[in-house]
């Protein structure tokens, strides 16, 4: 597959956007300026970016508790995102959902989900709708390595395979579910070993290499779009920060060495090196991208901070369509 310089620039922008957004959110969170729990995507940017760069607007994205990256990559508006994370009425969910439920249905991002595996059957339902309507949209769903141990994952991926739905399953294997190493919770080397049990193709990609992810996603999505059914992508990646928030509190569950080793292969640094080497962008241009995106994120913070909280009346609104 030929990956054009436009694609590289695009991948880079998506990743930087995620990184800048997440770093900012993390800082606000650590400074107690943001309520609730947040699960940051820092370190895993290449996965959402590589996959979403291979999608069209009408393609759906199913997400997880670690969903900011998916929404940013799908084209989400960082201002409305930041406002949502801060519980403001101008947020995507008008403050009712927060980090764990952030969504943009106009972009067909079907929402982060607080239940591990809970978003997978829903994304499969969207894939069904695509087939039902005769549309060639594809539904792509992200989930963690840990999520592949839960029943909803199994049922949903099997159903997609049995009904030959246009769905792509993307496992973000960061080797941990919260504080527990993956290998303690499954007796397989690669999560992709599960794909064969559903009769669908599976592939492992370097989840720190956005281009590799993009290539794998492009292939899987094209296959699904052509009516050949679902595929599985395992992206080997790593989260830099704690399971939720930034700093690890309590028991230390990962070696500093391990974190350092992964950080050496930082997905943004990797693509930037490539872009410079290939003469697609100069260091200055890349820095300009960072600055421009940082300005967007700063504006988002400003927007979020200056936005009002939702009105008390809204508490009982939108429980039902058409009122109670």
């Amino acid at each position: 597959m030929e990956v054009t310089s436009e694609v590289l620039l695009d991948l880079h922008r998506r990743m930087v956007r995620i990184r800048r957004f997440e770093e900012a959110a993390g800082t606000l969170f650590e400074n107690s300026e943001m309520p609730g729990f947040i699960h940051l995507y820092v370190g895993e940017e290449a996965v959402a970016s590589g996959v979403c760069a291979a999608l069209r607007v009408e393609d759906q994205v199913g997400s997880t508790h670690r969903g900011h990256g998916h929404l940013v990559a799908k084209g989400g508006d960082v201002s409305r995102m930041m406002a949502e994370l801060m519980g403001k009425s101008t947020g995507y969910n008008h403050g009712k959902g927060g980090s764990m439920h952030i969504c943009d249905l106009d972009l067909n991002m079907l929402g982060a989900n607080g239940i591990v595996g809970g978003g997978i059957p829903i994304a499969v339902g969207a894939a069904f709708a695509n087939k039902y309507k005769g549309s060639d949209a594809v539904s792509v769903v992200f989930f963690g390595d840990g999520a592949t141990n839960i029943g909803a994952f199994h049922e949903a991926i099997n159903m997609a395979a049995a009904l030959k739905l246009p769905a792509v399953f993307v496992c973000e294997n960061n080797e941990y579910g919260e504080f527990t190493p993956r290998r303690q919770t499954m007796a397989i080397d690669d999560v992709v070993d599960r794909a064969a049990g559903y009769g669908i193709p599976g592939v492992v990609v370097d989840g720190m290499d956005a281009i590799a992810v993009y290539e794998a996603a492009t292939e899987a999505v094209a296959r699904a779009r052509a009516g050949h059914g679902p595929a599985f992508i395992e992206a080997k990646t790593y989260r830099y920060y704690n399971h939720h928030g930034v700093q690890t509190l309590g028991t230390k569950y990962r070696d500093d060495d391990e974190v350092a080793r992964w950080r050496e292969r930082d997905p943004i640094t990797l693509i930037e090196q490539r872009m410079v080497a290939l003469d697609i962008a100069s260091t200055e241009e890349l820095e300009a991208t960072h600055r421009r995106i940082q300005a967007d994120v700063d504006a988002a913070i400003e927007f979020a901070k200056s936005s009002p909280f939702p009105e008390p009346e809204s508490l009982l609104e939108d429980v039902y369509t058409g009122g109670a």
Partner: protein
């Protein structure tokens, strides 16, 4: 095609409760391409209770989908399809299996719209079959509506007769919110008047199955006919009972209940579900709160005792509430006034 709540008197068409369900589905599927059914054995086999018979032949396998045995994925299929603009009807064969899919129903379907700040709607109907009396034992006999009625975001419906099956199913499928539509297994073969044309019974509106002055029985599902039997017996004892059929269990038509009790000054709630923590508790609570000064006696409750459903008919017949126990409940409530 749509008539209103009350069917015209000229139609006197008898149809089984289960057959009314199938006929309604067929008519709705014919009029609305976005409606499809999915579930275990609902396609080629037409469902284990025959509720989906003929639909696959008429509408094809994409609109009448045989799924794997995967209740979570079945409900998820419905959610994802509904969010994508379709109007799915997904089937969970026995109400006991609702428990297998509880996360998708309660954490996902019920909450999605609210969590999303209103940015979606979820026109999905979950159909299922509840109730004891077939010696199907503890995992195939439950009435679990109370679990669902406690969950904001869901609507819950349980028809007592063929006519209401049609009117309520039509309204449920056209509803833009997740509805759990509960049939009672022992009513499936029950014949009753049912108009041919589609019509809607608005959700949240109760009906008076029998008017009366002395006491109000609030009930639903299969206990409606048992309550009517009890009412006949009690009429012979000089007691004039009003029977309210809730039809919709969430939202409950509290206005209708309170208005009736304000007139009869006595109330008994009857359901097949376990009495402790059943929907009857909510209704009794509500009635004493809103009609306190009208009540001549405490609100009585008739329901199943606090045990799983036993297999053997010898015990199951003692377990399931019936006309005799409802009548007894009415008598003891009246005795306290």
């Amino acid at each position: 095609m749509t008539a209103t709540d009350t069917a015209s008197a000229t139609e006197l068409r008898n149809l089984g409760y289960g057959a009314a369900f199938t006929e309604t589905l067929r008519q709705i599927m014919a009029e609305d391409e976005d409606v499809f059914v999915a579930g275990e054995d609902v396609g080629a086999a037409g469902g284990v209770f025959g509720s989906f018979t003929g639909l696959q032949a008429e509408f094809g396998p994409m609109r009448s989908v045989d799924t794997p045995i995967s209740e979570q994925a079945i409900v998820g299929l419905g959610i994802g399809a509904a969010v994508s603009g379709l109007r799915p009807v997904v089937d969970l064969m026995f109400m006991d299996f609702v428990l297998v899919a509880m996360d998708q129903i309660v954490n996902q379907a019920a909450k999605l719209k609210y969590m999303f700040g209103g940015n979606t709607s979820l026109p999905m109907t979950i159909t299922t079959n509840a109730g004891a009396g077939l010696s199907a034992a503890a995992q195939h006999s439950q009435s679990l509506e109370a679990l669902l009625c406690h969950v904001p975001g869901l609507k819950v419906v349980m028809p007592s007769n063929s006519h209401d099956v049609k009117g309520l199913l039509t309204a449920s499928i056209r509803e833009d919110n997740p509805v759990v539509f509960i049939k009672h297994k022992r009513l499936l073969g029950q014949k009753g008047h049912c108009p041919e044309a589609l019509f809607e019974i608005p959700l949240g509106r109760a009906s008076i199955s029998r008017p009366g002055d002395d006491l109000t029985i609030v009930t639903y599902g299969r206990m409606v006919s048992e309550s009517l039997k009890a009412a006949s017996v009690l009429a012979g004892e000089g007691v004039d009972v009003e029977v309210i059929d809730l039809r919709t269990l969430q939202p409950v038509d509290t206005d209708a209940i309170v208005a009736s009790v304000q007139r009869t000054n006595h109330c008994v709630v009857a359901h097949e579900a376990v009495r402790f923590g059943g929907l009857g508790a909510e209704i009794a609570s509500h009635v004493q709160e809103h009609a306190f000064d009208y009540l001549d006696a405490p609100v009585g409750r008739v329901g199943a005792p606090f045990s799983p459903v036993p297999f053997t008919p010898a015990l199951e017949s003692l377990y399931v509430p019936d006309a005799a126990r409802i009548a007894e409940g009415v008598r003891s409530t009246l005795a306290r006034s």
